[in-house]
Amino acid sequence: MPGTDGEAAGAMPAAPGMSRRQIRERRLRRRSNLIAASSTAVALAAVVTLVPLAPGWERVKKSFFNAEIFAETFPGLLKAFLLDVAIFAWCAPMIAVLGLVIALARDARSPALYPLRLFGMLYNDIFRGVPVILVIYLIGFGVPGLGLPRPWNSPYIWGTVAVVLTYSAYVAEVYRTGIESIHESQRAAAQSLGLSHWHVMRDVILPQAIRRVIPANMNLLIALQKDVALLSFIGPVEILRQAGVYKSLLANFTPYLGAAVIFLCVTVPATRYVDHLIAKANRARS
């Protein structure tokens, strides 16, 4: 409305070099910031005053929010978390490679390679259809049960295998989406030069496809960082297991809260970074 604009420009000392539109937008921005801040404050106040009114609050506070126990167990948890990081660090590259192999197997076109394609399809159906924890149990307990000699009965090896197999199925799907998102004209141009199927894929399609799905794969990596903790069910004393040990030792659940805090410290920045990548990719596309 021109009238409001005129008033605003008159009321506020117009900053030099700002147009009427900019002034109006600044005013609107300030107003919505103020509303957002006050509604957040009200919501927070409600939580802080209402939750302690619950009948079990004192008990929950003692067993989940015990500051002393938090401080006492936190360093131990942090140390155990290093094992999660290590497992993650060796799983991630294996998943990236196996996922790509499965994606390519599913893309195999020649009839002679049909078994490969069938394998890729079955693989994806099976490992995406079964909960991770079940795969970890089946492989983690099943394979060492064959009576393999050390070190081949290690839960690290078979836990890693279980996680890598499961996550590769998801990563393969992401790669495939990327491959399919590359416009047919790129394939036509590469073929018209006389390049073989393999070279078209390796030199033209894949480099573009992989770049395009980096954000989606990063999301899976964040999920992986959390699921690594499931290995604790078959033995390794990583953070979740360590928190359980503390819980039993101290008869208090606060170590679980500590573990959650540690996970959040890693996953929240990672998630924000992925959001940033996605936003950047969207901007580049539009």
Partner: protein, 243 residues
């Protein structure tokens, strides 16, 4: 004399939709043949069939008198002999202009970048792009991208070049530089088939103009005949609309 490229009774359908309905066409060595006709008349499909990007349903395509349209044949070595340039350039966006050009010779002839360098530099020089070799496609204008696409096809030393509406996606002021590149190729004796809406260029440069309508070559002849005295009513009507 055998034609460089010869098509006899080529048929092609997509599903139940016939796109090419019995095309006969001969392109002699060093000739520039222009395909004209409305959108959907089959020009692009015809070019894609010549390059074996689309298999033909019926009929034969001969290159130097040897059939290349046999579906049992491996299309790759044949495609290396027939270059193609597309309407939307289709450069590989993750490679520089020079890498775009070098990819096929590197992979197919297994030549190193260093070995290819002088030849590729000469090509860029010839098409006025010597200072653009290290640029990525999105740093180039449409006209420059299309010239790089021409260079990329030429790097495989093709015997025939196919051009599919290569100026249609360009801003008017950039059309000229691409047409100049085509004139240069023609002067050097390249055998060329061009699907185009540039009637001025067809009239000036073509040896033969073919008017396609609904998957058939309705009329063909030297540009002077087609453009000044078309025999067929459909040709006359088309030309009245576009000229």
């Amino acid at each position: 004399m055998t034609a460089k490229l010869e098509l006899t009774q080529v048929w092609k359908s997509f599903g139940s939709n016939p796109v090419l309905r019995g095309i006969d066409l001969a392109v002699n060595e060093g000739e520039l043949v222009c395909l004209i006709g409305a959108s959907g008349s089959g020009k692009s499909t015809l070019l894609r069939c010549m390059n074996l990007l689309e298999p033909v349903d019926e009929g034969r395509i001969l290159l130097d008198g040897v059939e290349i349209s046999d579906p049992e044949q491996d299309p790759q070595p044949i495609r290396q002999r027939i270059g193609m340039v597309f309407q939307s350039f289709n450069l590989f966006p993750h490679m520089t202009a020079a890498e775009n050009v070098m990819l096929a010779p590197r992979r197919i002839h297994r030549l190193s970048r260093a070995a290819l360098r002088p030849e590729v530099e000469a090509l860029f020089e010839r098409f006025g792009l010597a200072d653009r070799m290290g640029h990525y496609p999105d740093q180039l204008s449409g006209g420059q991208q299309q010239r790089v696409a021409i260079i990329r096809a030429l790097a495989m030393k093709p015997e025939v070049m196919l051009f599919d509406e290569v100026t249609s996606a360009l801003d008017p002021e950039l059309v000229g530089e691409v047409l100049d590149a085509l004139r240069r190729l023609r002067a050097e004796g390249m055998t060329m088939v061009l699907a185009t809406h540039e009637m001025g260029f067809a009239r000036e440069a073509a040896d033969k103009v073919c008017f396609l309508d609904q998957g058939r070559i309705v009329e063909e002849g030297p540009p002077s005949a087609i453009f000044t005295a078309p025999r067929e009513a459909r040709t006359r009507e088309f030309l009245r609309r576009v000229l």
